[in-house]
Amino acid sequence: MKKYILDLKLTAVERLHERYVLLKATDCQKPLPEMQPGQFAQLQIEGSKQTFLRRPISIHYVDRKQNEVWFLVQTVGDGTRQLARMQAGDTLNVILPLGNGFTMPSDASARVLQVGGGVGVAPLLYMGAVMREKGIEPTFLLGARSAGDLLQLDKFRALGRVFVTTEDGSMGEKGFVTQHSLLQQEKFTQISVCGPKPMMVAVARYAKSADTPCEVSLENMMACGLGACLCCVEDTETGNVCVCKEGPVFDIKKLKWQI
């Protein structure tokens, strides 16, 4: 897919929670390029002395009617804090679309489970929306530390079934996503996961035991995002590969995780 450097204009900056912000951006000149669920963008950071590199942020949603792309950002360091300080009308320079997305089910009878943890729910919204367009109802299993960390629940509920776990039990079932009763009750034909690594490893372990195809989205530290610097490598069956170019989505069978 052709990649673009674009100066986008922010149409909205919504604070979802003290640590999370939703950026909506549009291209005022032309339609946004084609993007696939699970792909990401490299966002340029302005005004942070400590931040040198762009920040890789997954594509949260694409609103074709409004010609908008959404980014869900967790404020972790100075760079992401600077993104959270941006305002509607500001210019956001992005490179997109980057990497390879999740495998999309082709068969209407596919039963796809999308598992997200924390800010890792971001790419699943767009994936669910694309599935919905194809007439496939997605099932979301979303985990967080606490009810306040569950993001965009209303948006997920508008697309499909939503199951929730929180570590403190403030919403849904108490515990981790892999402990949710849904996994005992239903079988799926495909599992797509994005979240903290321990969570992805646990889900991968479940998927392997259930003999269900499973893809995970990695977030290794990146510099270029284009496959040039070789910094974000993951050890795989074919050696070290760039997460930015060969991933960020990988079939768990290709990874060397201990599962």
């Binding site: 450097i5 995002g225 070789l230 910094c231």
Partner: protein
Amino acid sequence: MADLRTNIAGLQLCNPVMTASGTFGYGLEFQDFVNLEQIGGIIVKGTTLQPRQGNPYPRMAETAQGMLNCVGLQNKGVDYFCEHIYPQIKDIRTNMIVNVSGNSPEDYAECAARINELEHIPAIELNISCPNVKHGGMAFGTTTDGAASVVKAVREAYKKTLIVKLSPNVTSITDIALAVQDAGADAVSLINTLMGMAIDAEKRKRVLSIGTGGLSGPCVKPVALRMVYQVAHAVRIPVIGLGGISCATDAVEFLLAGASAVEIGTANFLDPAITVKVAEGINAYLDRHGFQSVKDIIGICE
């Protein structure tokens, strides 16, 4: 429109902007952003005789106005390059230059000999300055004898333009430059990365997998500029300047210091179209100051 053409020991460049090895892939990764033929030369990833897996992750740490890396020359080896990469890049109409590294002078020479056979590769850049590998790399580039031994071995095996990339992690870079000149180098490029370290205060651990890495980005530019100036005033062969160049003014400064061309490295990560913008900016500078040719400003800073 000024004349941007420049010349590195017989190698004709359409403009003085090249890309630094390890920051531009094989060029193919950047085709969506720039017309590769508008770049004076593309120096592709470091290539070794045998395939190398490189160092473990994490390999990168962000710093103030720069970054550290310890990639460690990950590449699939010269055979893979010749069979699979070369056919994809041989018809790109610019100078496609291969950066060559090794563990011993014999390694370097054998790898260079393989590349000597490739019709559309007019030059190699010899990497005697990689700070991220245990054997070879910088071990050769930090002594005059070590540097000369590699260059002599390669000079016998390699008949086209031989550029030698120098390490800044030395007491006197001009001594190394003079040694490689005497050993048969056609040109030198400098600087490779400066050896550095990052520590995570919260985790109380060093960030990079091998503990140290090479520093690049705007933070190294003043060091690079000083070294380019000193070397350009000491050697007879052309100098290619690099180190933290991120805009046309930076590039002009290196040309004024004595570089016949420049390489852009880390800045490609921030703006994949920076190379062409820098070439345009050099042209604008020349026009603004009434210079007919880029050659008119090379080394004119006293």
